[in-house]
């Protein structure tokens, strides 16, 4: 995949710390409180903070925010580093800067819920998917979505996974059908038990089917009996393809669980 971002090569930043120049700057900052020396050190080691923000920050947070957090970590490292101990500054700074970014993610609630940025991205990917499918008459590829949204391919792939788990997104809202009318589901389905004929059902599974909503049964039927694509189903039912996918996976999982239990 051409859009997968290649990371920059591992570079020996630590060598910088051994230069006489930065040793002198550390001496001036730490022993004489020379603020200019601190500024010069900050400039010298900004590439380190930037490199770490880029490597650690594969996330929904904007890069500028991460860079700011990494810079804050760098400042802390500059203030706490003890040049007299003889360790290279970079080997001291890396864990300090990474620690600052971890704390930032923790404070943003990353550990407990889906970050807002990720939810926004999910909606963007869903909308772009529909837009491109309408324009081209065919569902887009990951690279086409990535190009359209100026994301990298991995971010799109991650979002395609994440969308499946977002019950809270308004994926269920009625959507315009291809003819432009807004129609709630109940009216579009008009299902009829008798014409629902998924393979041969044994009695257990007929009972099991009662656990799947009519809309899910209809969608299963369209995909596995009528052999419509998910995009075609999405247009017929008036929901997004991502939502069709989510409903299919969920109802198949329920059927499996029920078949297993019975």
């Amino acid at each position: 995949m051409a859009t997968v971002s290649a990371k920059p090569p591992l570079t020996s930043v630590a060598a910088n710390a051994r230069t006489d120049n930065s040793r002198e700057l550390f001496r001036r900052w730490q022993h004489e409180g020379d603020a200019h020396a601190r500024e010069a050190l900050l400039r010298e080691y900004m590439p380190l903070a930037r490199a770490l923000a880029r490597r650690y920050g594969r996330s929904s947070e904007p890069f500028e925010d991460l860079l700011q957090v990494a810079s804050l970590g760098l400042l802390k490292a500059l203030d706490r580093y003890d040049a007299d101990r003889g360790h290279a500054f970079a080997s001291f700074a890396v864990p300090t800067i990474l620690g600052e970014m971890r704390r930032y993610f923790r404070d943003c609630g990353w550990a407990v819920h889906v970050p807002r940025g990720a939810q926004e991205r999910a909606l963007k990917v869903r909308d772009a998917q529909e837009q491109l499918a309408r324009e081209r008459g065919r569902a887009p590829t990951v690279n086409q979505l990535a190009e359209y949204l100026e994301l990298d391919a991995e971010e799109v792939i991650d979002t395609l996974q994440a969308i499946q788990a977002y019950e809270t997104l308004s994926l269920d809202a009625p959507r315009p059908r291809t003819d432009g009318d807004l129609v709630p589901y109940a009216e579009t389905l008009g299902y009829d038990d008798e014409r629902f004929e998924l393979v041969e059902l044994d009695t257990t599974l007929t009972a099991v089917l009662g656990h799947i909503t009519p809309r899910e049964r209809e969608i299963l039927h369209m995909r596995f009996v009528e052999d419509l694509t998910q995009t075609e189903i999405a247009q017929r039912v008036g929901i997004s393809q991502m939502h069709v996918s989510r409903l299919l996976r969920r109802s198949l999982e329920q059927l499996r669980a029920l078949a297993h239990a019975s």
């Binding site: 990371k7 020996s12 990474l98 993610f105 395609l160 996974q161 393979v199």
Partner: protein, 281 residues
């Protein structure tokens, strides 16, 4: 509690994404939070990128990632069969560990170490603490699985190929949809077909357990433009067909409907099921 995930790939840059997807899936199964998952991914990415860029001096060669889940610790080994410990890990007059990539790994893992296996190449071993004991099924006896390791590596070096082993096979539910989505994206599949691949991955993960040997799901994948071929097995004789039928879930013929071709081929230890998926423009 023990679980294993083995990936054999080539050191192409795009394969690092596959490793990340597999780890993200595993992290989900182990209930790691987003920060722990990011730490794990960042450290392993650094190790893999080093193999991508430095292990084979511009040529292509094997990249192996072995993950072992034990009580309270996740151990990841990233291995190559390349030119051994070279730049940037050694040399430059800055000491063996003074590089940014290694410093990142060091900061994010609880333990890191190098080895140079007798066959050549380099192994980087990282450990990550697991927050609490995770409820995973035992994956059974490892001896049955060891023999296939070398053959797996050799096959993976074929262009575009990837080998994946997951034990216990129930872990596949968290890992397979992500890995196969990434590979389907590489094959230029549409989002439609990628969703099909996820559904197929669910079905394989749900039903393969009854058929696999030693509790381990072994899967080879070949990616070409608009074509994804999965090779599942070795499976005991007769089980390939029953896996296709089981995929029907007594209801929707998932495996049959979502694949374009299905073949059973004899293999050393039984048979393999080959599933071919195409996405036509």
């Amino acid at each position: 509690m023990r679980a294993e995930l083995r990936l054999a790939l080539t050191n192409r840059p795009e394969n690092v994404l596959v490793v990340r997807q597999a780890l993200t899936g595993l992290a989900g199964a182990l209930a790691l939070d987003a920060i722990e998952t990011n730490d794990l991914n960042t450290a392993v990415t650094e190790a893999c990128n080093n193999v991508v860029m430095h292990a084979y001096a511009g040529a292509e060669g094997p990249l192996e990632v072995d993950v072992q889940v034990r009580a309270r610790v996740l151990c990841v080994v990233v291995r190559d069969r390349g030119i051994g410990m070279q730049e940037p890990y050694v040399g430059g007059g800055t000491g063996a560990r003074d590089t940014l990539g290694l410093a990142v790994i060091d900061a994010l893992s609880s333990c890191v170490g190098f080895a140079c296996p007798c066959g050549g190449g380099t192994e980087l071993r990282m450990e990550f603490p697991l927050p609490s004991d995770v409820a995973l099924a035992e994956c059974g006896d490892a001896r049955g699985r060891a023999a296939a390791g070398e053959a797996l590596l050799t096959r993976a070096v074929l262009v575009g190929a990837l080998e994946l082993r997951i034990a216990p096979s129930t872990l596949a539910r968290a890992i397979l949809p992500r890995v196969l989505s990434a590979l389907a994206a590489r094959a230029h599949f549409s989002t439609d077909r990628i969703s099909d691949v996820q559904i197929l991955a669910d079905a394989l993960a749900a039903h393969a357990g009854a058929s696999v040997l030693a509790g381990e799901l072994a899967l080879g994948v070949t990616v070409t433009p608009r074509n994804l071929t999965l090779r599942i097995g070795p499976l005991p004789a007769g089980h390939a067909q029953s896996l296709v039928l089981a995929g029907a879930d007594g209801l929707a013929p998932v495996i049959e409907r979502l694949t374009d071709d299905r073949r059973v081929a004899p293999a050393d230890l039984g048979e393999t099921l080959e599933l071919c998926l195409v996405d036509r423009p």
